[in-house]
Assembly symmetry: C2
Homo-oligomer: 324 residues x 2
DNA sequence: TTGTATATGTCAACCGATTGACATATACGA
DNA sequence: TCGTATATGTCAATCGGTTGACATATACAA
């Protein structure tokens, strides 16, 4: 059972290879009769063209790389799922890359994607941008991350979201409102708008901002430990704005175990979170819209549409109040 | 800034293209000196070989297709994440495909994967297996799903898991224990071992099994509605074995909103679930081990290792008791 | 001195499909 | 009857890298 190729189809249909190619690509003149003959031959032989060969010749792979920290995180999971669906509907294929926020991995993946001649990249990883991004002119769009002036960013309105969350906690009469973040100090200094929104809101309300840094994104156990420790030291905490839903869930669990009554607001609002944590409020990011715009922008760039420098798409968020 | 190719490197290094290729592939005799010269040239030109061309000639793409319903579901998300990580560490790339349990989509994706000359496929989608699986001799492994006699299955011990869950609920003195499943009737008849384990346990305990079918996997809102309805009609339900964690979360939320006290046991035990639902017990599937075995088996098949018919790897589950 | 391992080059075929150039043939309307 | 649109074939180059065959040259050990 060897691989069927274009020549075999030609023989089967009794036409020339060129004619088969013409049918395949709808070029030149072909009679309906011949088309049918060729299509029948393809069916009986169970033929489909070798995309690798086509890619090589055409210098187009219809492949897009998705660089994200980890699809285990529901936000990235839903984002990647949505991106893939849209890409697929447009005839593109998605190469998935879990960088685990590891700079070296991100660089390796990038190299791999370039070597595989992807037509574009969508990046949501949270590393320090590396040189390769500068040296390539491959179409790239970023999700909630600055990569370079040339690369458009799609993000939700982190600042407003943080304000909404903080205001809600204030109005819920929380006395000690803490912002818990998984960001690194570097990220926080570089313009963490969720942090900024929280601080500004607190100051506007003439309250003291209190920030708790819980360490890296991906190490759940470590985060759990740190949160536990924090709550031991600050048992009077009664309001938390968590920078992400996973964090919100962890805090919730810790609090419940300690029988602390804490009003929590998360960030992301994935369907997974809404299914699993019916009792926690959150700021909902419009993942579907973000994915749509990301793909649209990327495919635009691929087909040569110019995108101005420092372009940013900031999408509105919504506050989702939940309680049992 | 045109694409750098092998010939350019040859010129830069002052050697023949063949020599560059030899360096690249470590073949024949090359002096250390020449190797360095060539490598330097590759560095200065920022060259990397075109994998598409290599794939075409070598008839090997190092590409693996991952066919799963939806990475939005934490189980599939973590599975895909783990599979990708392992594959990546072995020099393979992962093409992600969300079938949404849609038969037509699965078939299209399959065709696409074949056309793209993937070296193998890992399938966890829950459709009726289609013809293509029979007609190809591409290496394939399945996660918790029967595809054909030729295709090995990796799964967790669904039966034992269901027994553990059911026994726990019994010992917790639940009076009305229901099994809630997202399976279709067809799937249930075809050997749903979670269902089977539940029924057998109930019968062994001389109790009446009660099954509630909540409809398709992926439509959360519909499931929420159905669960709500069910709890209205059966407010005396005080124990639930849910066939998946997402379902468990939905049930939990509904119950809390109705102030019903229901002991729930889910199935999957993903880290996402454990983070978000600290209060619900579950049966933990060893996702990492399953992924390891799946990749190992697949890469074995790719390199020609024979796999006996009807091979099944059944991995042990663990009961995770949780409460706030 | 001869044989062999090492080192590099040239050349052409190949992976599978695409495409442009060019030839040829039929049918049909002007 | 001529011109043109339609229809199909042949042939070779191309995409970028790989590989086998073969030539050649140096160095070193037997």
């Amino acid at each position: 059972m060897e691989k069927v190729k274009l020549g075999d189809v030609a023989k089967q249909a009794g036409v020339s290879p060129t004619t088969v190619s013409r049918v395949l690509n709808n070029r030149g003149y072909i009679s309906e009769e011949t088309k049918t003959k060729v299509r029948d031959a393809m069916d009986t032989l169970n033929y489909f063209p070798n995309e690798v060969a086509r890619s090589l010749f055409g210098n187009k792979t219809n492949l897009v790389g998705l660089l994200f920290p980890n699809v285990t995180n529901p936000f990235y999971g839903e984002m990647v799922s949505e991106l893939e669906s849209i890409l697929s509907s447009q005839g593109y294929k998605a190469l998935i890359c879990n960088t685990f926020n590891n700079e070296k991995k991100e660089e390796e993946y990038l190299r791999m994607l370039l070597a595989n001649q992807v037509d574009g990249i969508i990046v949501g990883s949270r590393n320090r941008p590396c040189d390769i991004y500068q040296s390539t002119n491959l179409p790239i769009v970023a999700i909630d991350r600055f990569v370079s002036e040339k690369i458009p960013i799609i993000r939700s309105d982190n600042y407003t979201g943080a304000c909404l969350a903080s205001e809600y906690l204030h109005e819920a009469n929380c006395r000690n409102i803490v912002h818990v973040t998984g960001s690194t100090t570097q990220e926080m200094e570089k313009g963490d708008m969720r942090l900024r929104g929280y601080i500004d809101t607190m100051l506007k309300l003439e309250r003291e901002p209190q920030i708790f840094q819980v360490g890296f994104d991906e190490d759940d156990d470590y985060q759990r430990l740190k949160v536990d420790e924090f709550l031991n030291l600050n048992p009077d905490t009664d309001g938390v704005f968590a920078a992400g839903d996973t964090l919100a869930g962890i805090i919730n669990t810790c609090a419940k175990r300690k029988s602390l009554d804490i009003e929590i607001v998360g960030y992301d609002g994935t369907s997974t979170f809404l299914n699993l944590c019916g009792g926690i409020s959150t700021i909902h990011q419009p993942i579907n819209e973000m994915a749509s715009i990301a793909v649209e922008t990327l495919l635009g760039a691929i087909s040569g549409v110019y995108c101005e420098d420092n372009k940013e798409y900031v999408l509105p968020v919504t506050f989702i109040k939940r309680r049992y």
